[in-house]
Symmetry: D3
Subunit: 219 residues, 6 copies
């Protein structure tokens, strides 16, 4: 399936995608609200590439603790979104920062979402690289947590994410669109946007909400 | 009782109102700090119009899930503040967004405070409509929660709010001024502002805090 | 020991200080992420002056509830950072606000960090005085909590802070550098910054993360 | 479908039912562990009859706050289990106590599960009436919460429960068996019990866990 | 005022006291359910003697950290209940154990309630001394917390307790009866017990809950 | 080092061990109070054998999800205590139950402590096998979590545990005694027990707490 990602980012938003998935019975697609955009002005859409962390309490000698993390970063493709699952919001580590943002962008990635913390936020903001995070803090993962799996199904901020699912993020949060439903979801969302625009126009003309809701069925 | 709302908004702030109510023994009037302004530059003051939600886990057929919500919105009057109580901060729903902000403003409402989530935040910010919220997220209430009562006493972010009470919000948070105490509270707050201004002036002249506190009794 | 505070503030950041302390086995020096800067553009570094609060439920008559607080403020010295420990994040009080910021700055203090709330945030932002806080809210401490000790070891947002330790805060959070390790920590941090700059440069040239990590050992 | 409830209660247990439902892809059927049996010696199995509460902050005059609660109790049938959903574990009310236990037993009900609190626990224990609860406390629901719906789908301690689903509780907790899967689940659970018995026998003979697991595939 | 404590302990229970105080508008008198009796078979009633703790992070040299605690224990009178407020449930310390139970009983005290932890639970249970606690754990208060005030108003498990208020605890939890309302509360509670007994009798005869509720108005 | 485990279990208890370690500056050795004994009548002491879990969201085909768990169980030695770290108290899985208890006992293990849940509690209690747990629930680990490491340092209920450290559990909770300090800690604890016995005797004779504390220095 080919989606016009640029058009989606220009036309759509998480609220309308969430509503449309609700109507299709997909009611658990919005990440919990502790995940916030680092830059509320950016919109992100791409395919999920997942990494799964475990807590550790030790640094094993003769071992690169970032090994799998580096594999994931170097394997990112054009249009991918890194989904870094650390069992937030209890996570205290910042698995993502400026250097990974730089590496990811150089591979063509669209952005990152994590339920863990991030760091180097001023530099990431300057890059205009979309990062959605579960908090901000300086603690590195080394000796605290480690990526153990990549490209497996994960749960991030309460939502199941499988490699290849679509990740959409904006100022209101992040939703996951299951790959096999994406075409239908996008098509319906475009139609619903039109209804919302009509509703807004009528409300601005002073009509009561009940009249407008009865006409367009959108709230 | 008639209060000059514009003057209050220009002169007063939540901290001084909270202090004055403390002195009167009203010590539970400040909403918990998880409720934040969407726009820290806006000040809101108005009369509470309450809506009370319950969690639901189903959509009943042949039924408009937004029924009472629409009633409340269409009945808002000049100077009202919608107080939308969803049992936050555990609430996952966003009962308020751009369309309700538009409808509320068209009826003359002053703003909204909710312990639930809100959505469409970029558009609400552009409107300069004051909204104080318990988080941001895309999930609609349909099938998750429903307004069951309007214009009843509620608890919102830890504070009891009755219809007609005054709601005051600014960058520091939200306080509720019980209707029958409002005149006294406002009068005292105006006097305390003067004391705080003197204190600041003296401190800026380099006086020690103890001297200044002993002189004005304000901290 | 004499550190060039201005140079440190210009060159260093919490993430690199945290990493360097990790390497030295000091793994509990970063405050929990609920403590955030009021102004993400400011960097703060100075020596800890601590105040320790207890919850109270009453105002004792004939007694100045701010007594020790005033002592601490009036005794602040050039380069001090007030560390106000209120057992956050469960604290509901705002022990710090505009007037204390003004008093502290007049004594030459560098800033304040608290795991409690703060208030008067718009005015503090205008002052460009660095304050790192555990939330924002209007509730004064009077009748709710009281400073019982000053210049004792405290725990603030999960980190032990002793009077004289160095406090460093920026957009990513706050770290505490134990006084007796500060010289070593600072020296190592300066060297690590260089490695991170090389890493970024190589990544921007398009090198894979694995190559760059193997070359500089920095992530 | 007719299940031999007595036989199920004698042979089966929540752990084996949970495992069997896991194998069928029903992985969200066990209530969260804050729900505990009042009497760990009792086993409960029956059909769900649901009640859904909302928080209220007021007592409306001329109104019976227990109205729907009484309807549900008086309509309980032989073999029913009252499922009382109060949005636990944040609930502070005790919607169930000795008098409702007495009324429920007189109608032939099998027991009760609630994510709210219960009270009169010593008397309920003496009755040997199975009650699974989200805590213990003396606060009545009047003026704090109110049953708004009966016989609707609810969520109780993290599990969706529809009227007619089977509720099974024992010392390890509570699981919900969807009505339409019950026959299959029960049949598989009976077979798995046999495997667990063989495993235990072999372990007691001193065999290593690996050998026994490879033989019976049960852990 | 003289109450017959033995009679109250024999006739009354927390649920009926809580209901009666609700009717009088005293709706915040029941401690949160994390406070549990160590022995569910014991009933406790007596006058509050309060101690208020603060968290500390250091042991001051040449100082007895238990000083005020010993004062409170040695000053307990016949019929007193020690109310030990440690800001639970976040408290990690066990300020109460077997030795304090022994000392308290020797002074004639009726029992203890704390929102902190307790230790030596097997020995306290053998003594049949009523203790209501916020958890169980071995950590002493020394170097972690310290009693700073005695005989002041405190908050314990969400309820305000003043010296002299009545504390009543049983298997369902703990309620506080304000001293000046105690006579009225006790008298009403005795009457309500009779109504509950009638209700139970009628339910046991098989009457529907609605009939019985309409007759006695008790649930 | 050889310790007489039976003698320790008969003479010592967690509270005295915790106090003695406090005096030695080991102040983080007591597990958080959410970890409770399944049977308060049992005392457990032995050497830690650790297992570390990670959350997973998938079952990989052609793979035994219990592989490392079985290795750990089959390798337990006389006097070992299985320490099963699942990142409690947020863990929803029950990694330990009756079959593992049976297997562990057959290898000579002393008991188990986990910050996760346990299941089959009635059968484990009948076995009189000491298990300390972070809750009770029926959910198996398969598809939810997986043991990834054995015999590594872990954190369990807030305490660092290394293989070989001593684990001591009783009705008051669980403490960890670092292997290299064990001899000293045990010797001091035996002496302190004597002081506590004297204190109790004097209190029972009616002496004031202050006199007795001044004599023995024990509380």
């Amino acid at each position: 399936m080919t989606l016009d990602i640029s058009e989606c980012k220009a036309l759509l938003y998480t609220a309308v995608l969430s509503d449309v998935m609700d109507d299709l019975g997909l009611m658990s697609q919005a990440m919990k609200p502790f995940v916030r955009p680092l830059d509320e002005g950016l919109v992100m859409m791409g395919r999920a590439r997942t990494g799964l962390y475990m807590p550790v309490y030790d640094i094993e000698t003769g071992d690169n603790p970032y090994d799998l993390e580096i594999d994931l970063l170097d394997d990112l493709k054009e249009g991918d979104v890194a989904v870094v699952a650390c069992n937030g919001p209890t996570s205290r580590i910042a698995p993502w920062g400026e250097l990974l943002s730089t590496a990811a962008r150089c591979r063509g990635a669209e952005g990152c979402v994590t339920d863990g913390l991030i760091r180097d936020i001023r530099k990431i903001r300057e890059m205009k690289f979309p990062v959605f995070h579960g908090g901000i803090g300086p603690l590195d993962s080394k000796g605290r947590a480690r990526m153990m799996k990549m490209d497996v199904p994960v749960e991030c901020a309460g939502v199941r994410v499988r490699p290849g699912d679509f990740v959409f993020g904006d100022a209101d949060g992040v939703v996951i669109i299951p790959e096999e439903r994406a075409e239908d979801v996008i098509a319906r969302a475009k139609r619903k946007v039109t209804g919302e625009n009509h509703t807004r126009d009528e409300l601005l003309k002073g009509h009561l909400l009940r009249e407008v809701y009865e006409k367009f069925g959108v709230l």
